[in-house]
């Protein structure tokens, strides 16, 4: 019987409740996060038009670079300002 040392981070993932899905996007503020890949804005422009047609208010955000996670401040800003968020990747 061999005893070894655990090579992993030993972390127990926190369980976070998924937020409730809205019945409709009408009247809600929807954040659109551009991850800064080329032409992501083209896709998001289309999405924005659709959302406005649905009666949503749209806020746009853009990561400084697609190669790194969104800065903490930006994540906080989105969470406090929006009811829903759409993250877009395009090339």
């Amino acid at each position: 019987m061999t005893t070894v040392l655990d090579p992993t981070n030993e972390a127990t993932p926190a369980t976070i409740e998924r937020s409730m899905r809205p019945e409709s996007l009408a009247g809600l503020t929807v954040g659109l996060l551009d991850i800064s890949k080329p032409r992501g804005n083209v896709f998001l422009d289309q999405v924005e038009q659709r959302l406005i047609a649905l009666g949503s208010t749209v806020k746009r955000y853009k990561k400084p670079t697609f190669t790194k996670p969104a800065p903490v401040d930006m994540r906080h800003e989105i969470a406090t300002e929006c009811d829903a968020v759409i993250e877009a990747l395009a090339d």
């Binding site: 019987m1 005893t3 040392l5 655990d6 090579p7 981070n9 670079t65 996670p69």
Partner: protein, 479 residues
């Protein structure tokens, strides 16, 4: 574990595999007839032959009472406190110690003792772990009796696909002897799970990767290098491009570790080269949580994602090293992490002038990723000794070579506008009539390595370069 007391009277520690112990064997029976004598045997219950020994095959008493030599003779008081001890065989000493002036008069005057099994290098780590309590904080995992150790590690998802060395406490303690840093020291915060990694956790993964303890400072420096905002290991993991961290080791430590800078430098056959990079990747996998198909979204992968480290051949060129060009002192031990694909050859077997060879190298470098990609990626050119010889013969130093090469790496954008040459890929039309560098300023990295024969050099292409992607990071290697 509490120290077990020795019995009062005389106590001897012996092993059969020691000529001096065999020499004093008959004397032990004599001593036993005079006063209470307890003999602990380390390797054979039928030794000594002159009287019945107490079993110390597990070396518990030997370890607790710091026996370094056999035979050791100890006088223990009534309360179990050691009064004095002698080691080896010295007739005068043994006679004075026991008060028996006839003891061993037919034996030679002096014989040195032998090493105690409890300090034998092959046993001491296991003993230290078993008896001493390692003080290591890492969670212990006990494999079931019917589990195969190697399969058990695969089953738990710890492996990169190759077998792992089981990270037992004894092996991890031995690994930690490779550094003076405390096991609990935090080295870095590892993406993607953003976990603080300790020296101890790195040691566990270094054991699994097959590292020797002396490699540990290099692995630690490598982990420090990749877990920086500049290097951006998170991005390397998440990208669909086939890049991983490549490590170049400079300084005398490379030779001390037996790292390869010569024949087959990027290939198989050298333990340090193969296991150092692998250990770093296992830290990313097991501590950082970066696994293919999860945060790692690489489309095709690359050998550099398994682990690739090599030493620069500094002795074979008068040029300053990669580390020196990056600001390290000459002769300093350093590791540079670069975000790169696998190597590909640039072949030129006919050029005899540095100008001609530089033209070839530039052509090869311009083709990295695609001729139509400019100013977007870094690259590393590793000159082979036979190519390097062209520059040494002509008296070119590193600075001259760099200047000449970079002049040849300017791209006429009219050749790579979208649609030109029947290729849809390329720059937008607005970039016409410009001269752009293939690599950003400082984005071409140059090193020297390889076997003495072969008129080819290697180029490693990179990934998104500069602050928006990955910037190479050089760290000093400290023990």
């Amino acid at each position: 574990m509490e120290t077990p007391a020795l019995p009062p009277g005389l106590v001897a520690f012996v092993k059969r595999d020691c000529e001096t112990c065999q020499l004093v064997d008959p004397l032990l029976a004599t001593l036993a007839s005079d006063e209470a004598l307890t003999v602990y045997t380390q390797d054979d219950l039928t030794f000594p032959e002159s009287l019945q020994a107490v079993d110390d095959l597990a070396l518990e008493m030997s370890w607790h009472h710091n026996i370094e030599t056999v035979p050791t003779l100890i006088r223990v008081g009534k309360t179990g406190i050691e009064a004095e001890r002698i080691v080896g065989w010295s007739r005068d000493q043994w006679q004075a110690f026991t008060g028996n002036m006839e003891l061993g008069i037919t034996l030679p005057e002096f014989r040195p003792g032998c090493g105690s099994l409890s300090v034998d290098p092959s046993r001491s780590d296991e003993l230290n772990a078993r008896m001493g309590g390692s003080g290591l904080a890492t969670r212990r995992i006990e494999f079931a009796e019917l589990e195969d150790d190697f399969e058990a590690m695969y089953d738990r998802g710890w492996s990169d696909g190759l077998p792992l060395v089981p990270p037992t406490e004894a092996r991890v303690m031995r690994m930690l002897e490779g550094t003076t840093r405390q096991p609990s020291d935090i080295v870095a915060n590892v993406a993607p799970d953003l976990i603080d990694v300790t020296v101890e956790k790195i040691a566990v993964n270094a054991v699994m990767a097959g590292c020797k303890p002396e490699y540990l400072p290099v692995v630690i420096a490598a982990v420090e290098a990749i877990c920086t905002d500049e290097f951006n290991i998170h991005g390397l993991l998440a990208t669909t491009m086939s890049v991983g961290p490549v490590f170049v080791v400079n300084g005398p430590i490379a030779k001390q570790l037996g790292m390869n800078s010569g024949i087959n430098v990027f290939g198989q056959g050298n333990r340090a080269n193969l296991t150092i990079g692998r250990a770093v990747q296992l830290v990313v996998r097991n501590v950082g949580g970066g696994r293919p198909g999860e945060v790692d979204r690489c489309a095709q992968g690359s050998p550099t994602k398994i682990g690739l480290a090599f030493a620069e051949d500094e002795a074979g060129t008068p040029w300053i090293s990669l580390a020196e060009e990056r600001g390290m002192e000459p002769g300093a031990n350093a590791i540079t992490a670069l975000c790169l694909e696998g190597p590909r050859l640039i072949v030129d077997q006919l050029s005899r002038t540095p100008e001609s060879l530089t033209n070839t190298l530039a052509e090869g470098l311009l083709a990295t990723h695609s001729r139509r990609m400019v100013a977007g990626i870094d690259a590393m050119l590793v000159l082979s000794p036979e190519h390097m010889a062209r520059y040494i013969d002509a008296g070119w130093d590193r600075a001259r070579f760099r200047t000449e090469l970079e002049e040849r790496l300017m791209v006429d954008t009219n050749d790579i506008i979208r649609g030109t040459g029947g290729i849809e890929e390329g720059l937008p039309a607005g970039f016409a009539d410009m001269q752009l560098p293939k690599f950003r300023p400082g984005g071409l990295h140059i090193a020297h390595a390889g076997g003495a024969a072969g008129l080819f050099s290697s180029v490693f292409a990179g990934w998104v370069s500069g602050p928006t992607g990955s910037v190479p990071v050089t760290k000093p290697i400290t023990h």
